[in-house]
Amino acid sequence: MVEQDLVLAAQRGDGAAFVDLLRPRIDRLFALAHRILRDVDGAEDALQDALIVVWRDLRTLRDPTRFDAWLHRVVVRECIDDASRERRRMAKVRALPDVEPAAPDSLLTLADRDQIERGLKRLAPDQRAILALHHYAGFEPTEIAAILGIPPGTARSRLHRAHQAMRAALDADARLAVARGRSA
């Protein structure tokens, strides 16, 4: 069965087709949600909520070939919304997901990672989302535009502004570290 068939079957209410449709995508969506939210539990919650929204509203998708862009849009919006509000989460008993170990020849030192992590936390959720879509998921600005439902020029400028904001956040972090060193 081709993917378009699965979309159409899911639109007819076939839950098994819907799950089959998501099976090859779930890891990538989870990883994307994690890159935006920087939190495993948060990524699980956001993805759960987003996928129920996708199922519930699937019949409103007119063009099945747009499923992937629409799916990413719902997931990213859910992540941005979750990041924008405080959520209470129920603790879940779960297995820890596989973590990709850092390559021995990684470009990043431990200090770099901490610095980038802190820098990302200073960014607005939609800026974190656009960086994750580009640098993790590998989407080009025109694809990001389709996912977020914005013009390509706007996607390009938002990505540029997110890079600038990241640089400013890292500079601020570096200045803070220098100031701490002086006061120590």
């Binding site: 069965m1 378009q4 068939d5 159409l8 639109q11 209410g13 076939d14 839950g15 098994a16 087709a17 819907f18 799950v19 998501l22 779930i26 890891d27 969506l29 989870f30 990883a31 994690h34 890159r35 495993v40 990524a43 699980e44 993805l47 759960q48 129920i52 199922w55 519930r56 509203d57 699937l58 019949r59 409103t60 099945p64 849009r73 719902v74 919304d81 879940k92 779960r94 297995a95 997901p97 596989d98 973590v99 990709e100 990684s106 470009l107 990043l108 770099d112 990672r113 610095q115 980038i116 960086l131 994750a132 640098h135 993790y136 890079h163 600038q164 990241m166 640089r167 890292l170 570096a174």
Partner: protein, 300 residues
């Protein structure tokens, strides 16, 4: 200090690390939830969804504006509104909002909330299920039951006024001219369809409703019909509904399906569709779901 030109490269490396595998329970949980979560019909305006296309928001704004203007004009002309006679039957509580689906059902008898509006009257569907079933869809023209714990998720569809579709690319919803709407007409059309391998039609009588059922067991290898709007391969497009709605039933070569058509009186035909995407499951599905079908009745 990290330079601007390096930020992209560092983010690439940073994002390459971290979890890449979703926990297994996510898909299991999703499977359980879709079995009991109704979908919205495509023609409904969903005001609760945060994902609204711009055209829909504009349409809602225009409609709201029109309602306000007309309402204000009526108040000016007529003063206090006069009391009006109530409708002939109580309106379903959720025709224009979320589906009336009940979700998980206890073992025993249940009835539809919205399903069965026909000819200005309500024809409530009543049925009995064992434990483990859910109602996932309930509108005026379509009702859907699903075995709650069935991991294959094969639903049982019940619909009003099924009619045969004219299969012409690009698969528009057009009723086929010259084909009647009675159970005998519908079964005779399917039985003689040049693209379908079918079983022998059987007469059936359920709680005062008489009709026929027929099993579609596959597709003939030389059938070249397609429906490229929905699928790439061999396709037979069979059913739509007389009333406007999203329902369009097409089959591909992987499916086996039982169609049950019942005369509910007053010109109302009820269609029941039992569909197996995994052919090995067909007989078990038919056996399980026909036990529920046999309990169905239409209250007028």
């Amino acid at each position: 200090m990290i330079q601007e030109r390096d930020i992209g490269r560092l983010l690439d490396a940073f994002y390459a690390e971290g979890p890449r595998q979703a926990p297994d329970w996510l898909l299991d949980d999703l499977q359980a939830r879709v079995n009991t979560q109704a979908q919205r019909a495509d023609w409904r305006v969903s005001l609760r969804s945060r994902y609204q296309p711009t055209w829909r928001l504009l349409l809602i704004a225009v409609m709201l504006g029109a309602v306000i203007i007309v309402g204000a004009a009526l108040l000016q002309i007529g003063g206090r509104p006069r009391p009006r006679a109530g409708p002939e039957f109580p309106a379903p509580p959720c025709l224009l909002s979320d589906s009336c689906a009940s979700g998980e059902l206890t073992a025993g008898q249940h009835e539809s909330t919205a399903f069965g509006t026909f000819g200005g009257k309500r024809h409530t569907l009543t049925f009995t299920v064992p434990d483990g079933w859910a109602n996932v869809y309930d509108t005026d023209i379509e009702y859907m039951l699903r075995p709650r714990l069935d991991s294959q998720g094969n639903p049982l569809h019940v619909l009003t006024s099924p009619v045969i579709v004219d299969q012409q690319e690009p698969c528009t919803k057009t009723p086929k001219a010259g084909v009647g709407e009675s159970p005998d007409d519908l079964v005779a059309y399917i039985a003689s369809h040049p693209g379908l391998e079918v079983g022998t039609p059987q007469r059936i009588s359920i709680n005062g409703m008489s009709g026929q059922y027929i099993d579609v067991l596959g597709m003939k290898p030389d059938w070249t019909g397609t429906c490229t709007r929905y699928t790439d391969g061999q396709t037979v497009v069979l059913l739509m509904q007389r009333e406007p709605g999203p329902f369009l039933w097409w089959m591909d070569s992987t499916e086996q399906t039982r169609f049950v058509f019942l005369d509910a009186g007053e010109g109302l035909t009820i269609g029941v569709v039992i569909d197996a995407r995994i052919q090995e499951l067909f007989q078990r599905l038919v056996d399980d779901q026909m036990r529920v079908v046999q309990t169905m009745s239409i209250a007028k």
